[in-house]
Amino acid sequence: MIPATICVVLVCIGILFFVGGAVGIIRFPDFYTRMHAAGKGDTMSVFLILMGLAAYQLADFSLANILVAGKILFITIFIMWASPTSTHALIKAGFEEGQKLWTPNGEKEDSGK
């Protein structure tokens, strides 16, 4: 029903976002910007990959497959919920611990605490 091409395309785009996140962790200059790459490139990529898997499940349409797709949807909702929470917890811990803020002109600015 749903051609496998769509699933493959979804999963590949998801992997591309994952690569972007991984490269970002290495290249970005400080703790905060690295958190951006680490915590959130994943949200979209996991969403796309799981959507690809759900679409693959729905390719032959039966009740059991719909239930599996529903469970995959639940995983997606959970990740959408948990990922911002953990990102926030980590960055707040870093902020309160007094991590320095990187600015483009080379100086490290105090986090304003």
């Binding site: 591309l16 970005f28 951006h36 959130k40 490139g41 639940f74 919920w81 803020l101």
Partner: protein, 165 residues
Amino acid sequence: MYRLCIFLLLFGIWIIFSGQFDGFHLTLGILSTAFITAISSNFFFENRSQGVGNRLQQIIRIPWYLVWMLYQIWLSNIHILRLALSPNELPEVEPKLVRIKTNLKTDFGKWMLANSITLTPGTITIDIKDDELLIHSISSLTTEGVEGDDMERKIAAIFERETTN
């Protein structure tokens, strides 16, 4: 009425997770969801001053917000991807701390706003004090995005329609 809604919600989740439709499993499901509803239904939807119909209207409006949200996440993910993979010395990365005021009054509205901001790549909510959000933003484009009040107005339209009137 609220209890019935919670019961139906939990039972729907039970059916999806179990995937068995014979009498034994359905009875088990009814028993356990009834038990959970009896002991913990007070934790859901704590503010019950507004009627169930009002809640249902909110629930109907949420998916549109989620679709818009997904589009925003998609756009800014591409932005982050371009930042991460740009050659040379990351010219566009300009990290900045931003403070914005919010007009949302309920805790749930604020939670939704903070979570939406964190979910959009490029901005992370560090702290909320009363009605002020402290946000870390990675480039000038994402700073502009968070300083506009688009997201806040959409959330207010869903959850706080009656209080804003």
